[in-house]
Amino acid sequence: MSSEQPDEMSLPARFYAEMYLIRRFEETLLEMFSAGKLVGTTHTCIGQEANAVGVIAALEPERDIVFSNHRCHGHYLAFTDDPRGLLCEVMGREGGTCGGKGGSQHLCRGNFYSNGVQGSIVPVATGMALAEREKGSNAVTTVFLGDGTLGQGTVYECMNLASAWSLPLLIVVENNFYAQSTPSSLTLAGSIPSRAEAFDIDTQHLDTTDVQPIHEAARAAITSVRETGRPFCLVLDTYRFSPHSKGDDNRDEAEIEARRTRDPLLITSAQLPEAERLEIERSCEARLEGEVAHAEASAVAGAAA
């Protein structure tokens, strides 16, 4: 859903524009926190943008459902192209996606939902997939989770249910190798793909931050879910450059720097002519600047009450 971009844009250009918007949106949030303009919390996906953009570009937002988690801004922007609603929501201004009641982690618009408790999300998404099957809508429900959420037993209860009942559910595991500050090497046993495979769920595992192969894998996965009605699990190895939330990062700087060569924005921008890349960035910066100005000029949510 990229209403702001002209239709004739190439796929890499469109992907770059969407990823760039997510990146700059979240960097703006972190800057606003530092400047004392935001309160509460936020969880950015800086470095992981290719997953949101690549997967969601294969969905039909009018029909399909996305259920996301605490790290939901990228998914939300890719699905709705609504930076205005999200910014107002996070800033607690009128016009926010949920009237300021949800904040960063609890979003709802159209067929998009997110919630902030790890174990809560997959069951609700599974119920949505069941409802859509009962209604015969042929919708695909996509649930995004991180490797940290694999510590929740409900994930496996739902893998079992989705497979036993043949539910149209796409489970996307964004494996960034850390649960908040804890490396998964300390807490995660066995292999992630084999967890889904154990429930007879078709699974694909990608170790890439290139949006194009992620998109192709997602398209194949979503086609499979839609045509067979069976669940599918996509495991996407990725890396988060930003802290889990704000200032709670004790990772080795060298480790983070080493991963920056795989920045999804670098990979895709290298495929674009310089002039096109600059135009996308300029256009996005202008749009974002306008949205910040709009949000700052908007009334504080609840002030009238």
Partner: protein, 340 residues
Amino acid sequence: MMADRCVHELNRALHELFEKRDDVVLIGEDILDPYGGAFKVSQGLSTRWPDRVMTTPISEASLVGLTAGMAIRGLRPILEIMFGDFIALGYDQIVNGISKFREMYDDQVTVPLVIRLPMGGGRGYGPTHSQSLEKALIGVPNVTVVAISEFHDVAALLTAAVEDIEPVFFVENKLMYGRAVQRPEGGYIGELRCQASASRYPAIALSGSEFTEDSVTIATYGGMTSLAVETATSLILEHEIFCEVISLSQLQPLDLDPIIESVRRTGALVTLEEGTLTGGFGAELTAAVQAVAWDDLRRPIRRIGAADGIIPAAPALEAAMLPAATDLVDAVLSLTGSRV
């Protein structure tokens, strides 16, 4: 004609709901025919509507969330929890999902689900299959908690719950299932005058004196209603003391008005619940009643509930734990000034 049993009334209501509405689905453990659920409330449904009745793995933590997802997307799911005790596994979904979705998503969604919860002891099932955990639900904002007794129109209450736009936790006492439905005849149930409030989930008021000279209000709900009614009757015969019994069906939002009206008539209140006493229905009710009707109360409010501990399996030990008629008689006598 012999009065029907509550379990049959509930089953009839479910069949009628399935006939009336295509969006009603039932999920739960062991609910398929011929078994039809641990307490037989779901019998016959899977035979008539095989596509709308889904037997599940033993996964309550997920099933509660699953039900929420179905409701948000336009179905009217009913989840049968085999023993109400097991709702503890789904508590995250209640606290962090079901009770929040509508408000935190700024009224963009509704969550019209019903979760049926067989609660209560008296059958020797022991500590994890005998509890009455309503207090863990009435403390959660934005959910409706309904409890039924044989003195209520149980079929109408279940129908109202399924047709409610809000999430409803529907508490069914296990001993009640086998009891005969008690419907008023000519305004009376047995010796007691009976009135029902006009709300969606009515409260039943019973009086031994036509609501004119009762000296104590006994406020209760669910499985304790029969104990309250039996005790109120025996207090008339043995002590010539008249009581009003108010049995709520809507515990949350707390249906306070029928209790306040009664307390204004009687001037004294005993609360009676089967769950453990601390932080329960009686505590909430006591705070609410004294705030509104302090000037009407002659004596401090008395609370009766299970002792704060486990419910043992052995019958004598279980009976010692749960509220008994003697507890209620003692409380009423203390409020009327008579010596025990």
